[in-house]
């Protein structure tokens, strides 16, 4: 065949369209390597790049003319000198079109380097400097040179105070999205100035800041605000009490003032308040004022009662996302109120709501047919009957049933029969599950991608074999399944080619036969935990050597592997391994050469 039909017939537009459906980076990389036309299309279409080494920036930017988003977070040694070298080369055409810059965890970067970035990127709209622990007011001042910035993420920039925030507020008045999570030096003063200058703010995260009701008053003036997160802003702990002791408003008043602040935020769509102490009037006023609310997070909040939920949703507040994790006072009455009003409910989190019974699941199955995600971890009242009611929610994509010890295979039959769209299923410690349930799942839920069977001790090789019939399975956790041997793992590996993440920790009866198969067939495996398995030197070497995509391995308590076995295995993969966990005693026995090799390639070693 002369040249490929695919190439000569399809124009660039169609190839670009096909490429847009290819989302995984690894697939895009394979695409580039196929032929010249594909390489050209990828080079032309790529807008975002996450660079591994700074030396490559200028060449890559000249190859990819459309790049406007640069991620340097995994690039080692980004510091002021590196930046000045990048910028000072004269060929700074690439920085002129940069719209988004990710510098999270670039702890070597300081205000000089940051200022160079800001001044060289005139159209920069989004910058992420989260987890740069040392960032302080000087760095914030550098950021304020970004006059066209719309989005700034400053989570955990621990040194930034009101002074720095003020500089940003004055310099970046177009700001629409700002995250100040954990920036504990910021107080009400900073927030107040922010709200006065940055009136376009749509998204604000002030979680874990030591702010009081005064901030709420300021925030309530932001007419365009759609998303507000205030996790942990009123948690009473030793620090909080100390703070209160300095003469701040008492905890009784605080919830009321939150409410008064919130009632002016008429455009609010999302409110995340995890960990707060809420009162009844809170629910009434949210219901009355925030008519556009679609998502509310009340995880781990104190004071969430049936009556409160009823007041929240009554009168037709049609929520899409509701997080009630650990609101253990809630009973079936609350769920009844929710299902009456929120017919468009998409995501419901009820972890640890252990007073709920099958009645709630009945109502959910009856009224909330659009439900896609539900978390019932540790809900004691969930049993097989309940699951069969819940299975009427045929659009379920993510179902979490961890620690639901009262469910058996029967419950899974109902799910497998009706919930064909399920992609993620968590059955952690569901002791009643066995091979028959897995057989049903593998026939019915063909879209399954992520499955957790850890500690489901009844599962044997037969059940694991069935999982091979799930073509899209990429993440499997099966810790401590003592009835599974090499036979089961072999059967799984032969059929499940897409497997990328596997956890078989404590499966002490899986030996080399299973791992050899894994090494041969599971070419896509990126992450593996085989701690405490019966693998030997040969098996480990095969696994680490053959699996070319393996980047993260946990290899603790491998009693059948000798020190030499580890040496050989690690050497076989030191080129691509990024993270490895080893038992502490190996530190003394492995040669310094292997440590040097691993570190040179940027691999991080964790000691158990």
């Amino acid at each position: 065949m002369d040249s490929a039909p695919l190439l000569s017939l399809l124009n660039d537009d169609l190839l670009i369209r096909i490429l847009s459906f290819i989302t995984h980076d690894s697939d895009r990389k394979s695409f580039r390597l196929v032929c010249r036309t594909f390489l050209k299309v990828d080079s032309f279409h790529r807008t975002h790049i996450r660079i591994l080494r700074p030396e490559f920036i200028t060449t890559l930017f000249s190859k990819f003319p459309r790049i406007n988003s640069l991620d340097l977070s995994i690039c080692p040694q980004i510091n002021d000198e590196a930046v000045s070298m990048l910028m000072g080369h004269g060929s700074t055409h690439w920085s002129i079109r940069l719209r988004k810059l990710v510098l999270s965890r670039s702890t070597g970067l300081k205000s000089t380097g940051l200022e160079m970035f800001m001044k060289s990127c005139p159209v920069l709209e989004s910058v992420d400097v989260s987890y740069c622990w040392d960032f302080g007011d000087k760095e914030a001042a550098a950021l304020s040179f970004g006059g066209s910035l719309r989005e700034v993420k400053m989570d955990r920039c621990l040194g930034v105070s009101d002074v720095g925030l003020a500089k940003i507020a004055i310099g970046c008045q177009c700001l629409e999205k700002l995250s100040l999570k954990w920036c504990s030096e910021i107080t009400d003063l900073g927030v107040d100035l922010l709200t006065k200058k940055c009136t376009e703010l749509k998204h604000l995260d002030i979680s874990y800041l030591k702010v009081t009701s005064g901030s709420l008053r300021s925030i309530s003036s932001l007419e365009k605000l759609e998303f507000l997160a205030m996790v942990g802003c009123s948690t009473v702990d030793n620090e909080g009490l100390h703070y209160l002791g300095k003469g701040c408003p008492s905890l009784q008043e605080y919830p009321t003032k939150i409410i008064q602040g919130l009632k002016d935020l008429k455009n609010l769509k999302t409110l995340v308040l995890d960990g707060a102490l809420v009162s009844e009037s809170f629910f009434k006023i949210i219901n009355f004022n925030c008519k556009y609310l679609v998502e509310i997070g009340l995880g781990k909040c104190k004071g969430v009662t049936d009556k409160g939920i009823f007041q929240l949703v009554s009168g037709g507040l049609n929520l899409n996302v509701l997080n009630l994790t650990c609101c253990s006072d809630l009973t079936d009455i609350a769920i009844s109120a929710i299902t009456d009003s929120c017919r468009s409910l998409l995501c419901l989190k009820l972890e640890c709501c252990n007073s709920l019974t099958g009645k709630s699941l009945y109502r959910l199955g009856l009224h909330c047919s659009l439900l896609e995600e539900i978390d019932l971890t540790d809900c004691f009242g969930v049993n097989d009957t309940g699951l069969s009611y819940l299975s009427k929610c045929t659009k379920l994509v993510c179902l979490k049933l961890g620690l639901c010890i009262n469910i058996t295979d029967k419950g899974l039959y109902a799910i497998a029969r009706n919930c064909r769209e399920i992609r993620e299923l968590d059955l952690y410690r569901c002791k009643g599950i066995g091979d028959d349930g897995l057989y049903a799942l593998s026939s019915g839920c063909k879209r399954m991608q992520k499955l957790n069977l850890s500690y489901c001790s009844e599962v044997t090789d037969k059940g694991i074999e069935c999982l091979g019939h799930l073509p899209e399975l990429y993440n499997l956790e099966m810790r401590s399944l003592l009835n599974v041997t090499g036979t089961g793992l072999t059967a799984l590996a032969t059929r499940c080619c897409g497997l990328a993440e596997l956890d078989v920790k404590d499966c002490a009866n899986i030996d080399d036969s299973g791992f050899m198969a894994l090494a041969y067939y599971s070419r896509n495996l990126q992450q593996i935990n085989l701690s405490h398995c019966a693998i030997s030197d040969v098996g480990l070497c095969m696994v680490m050597g053959n699996m070319t995509r393996l980047q993260d391995a946990k290899l603790v308590n491998l009693y059948n592997v000798s020190t030499n076995g580890f040496e050989v295995a690690l050497r076989a993969c030191c080129v691509r391994l990024k993270k490895v966990k080893l038992v502490a005693s190996l530190r003394l026995h492995l040669t310094p050469d292997i440590f040097k090799a691993l570190r040179a390639k940027g691999c991080r070693i964790r000691w158990d």
Binding site: M1, A4, I22, K29, F31, F56, L60
Partner: protein, 150 residues
């Protein structure tokens, strides 16, 4: 009897297809012609052969049927797209020419699905594509993929 208008489509190999206007306007190109009122005679489609047109019409008809559930449509689509890649190209070109964005997307998604999870060599094999890189070029790109960016 409802007065549905019938349109005649003529493919590149001279075959004529009669189709309800309501179904045929899934193609934006045909829809434009209808609105411009130039459909009194057969609409010529010189870029589509009869084999491909038959399949396109099969798709249009199924997606215009009443009372078909989403699950049934999904099953139909899956079977419809289980064809050799050369048939997919013909379909894709036809859908693009006829300007049926929905069908173009469906086929592009199928091609993308056939690419996902495969190595470059496997992709070439799947689509009969010739590797036109020199060994040096290929190695350079491989290095870039491994070292330069994620």
């Amino acid at each position: 009897m409802s007065s549905t208008k019938l349109l005649t489509l003529k493919t590149s190999d001279g075959e004529e297809f009669k189709l309800d206007e309501a179904v045929a306007v899934k193609s934006q190109a045909i829809k434009n012609m209808v609105e411009d009122d130039c459909v009194s005679n057969a609409i010529p489609l010189p870029n589509v052969d009869s084999k491909t047109m038959t399949k396109v019409i099969e798709y249009w008809k199924k997606h215009s049927e009443e009372g078909v559930s989403k699950d049934q449509l999904n099953d139909f689509d899956k079977g419809f797209l289980e064809v050799h890649h050369s048939v997919l190209y013909d379909l894709l070109l036809a859908a693009n020419y006829l300007n049926d964005k929905e069908l173009v997307d469906v086929i592009c998604q199928e091609v993308a699905d056939r690419i996902k999870g495969k190595t470059p060599e496997e992709i070439r094999k799947e689509f009969d594509i010739k590797n036109d890189f020199t060994p040096e070029e290929e190695e350079k790109i491989r290095q870039e993929n491994a070292w330069a960016f994620d």
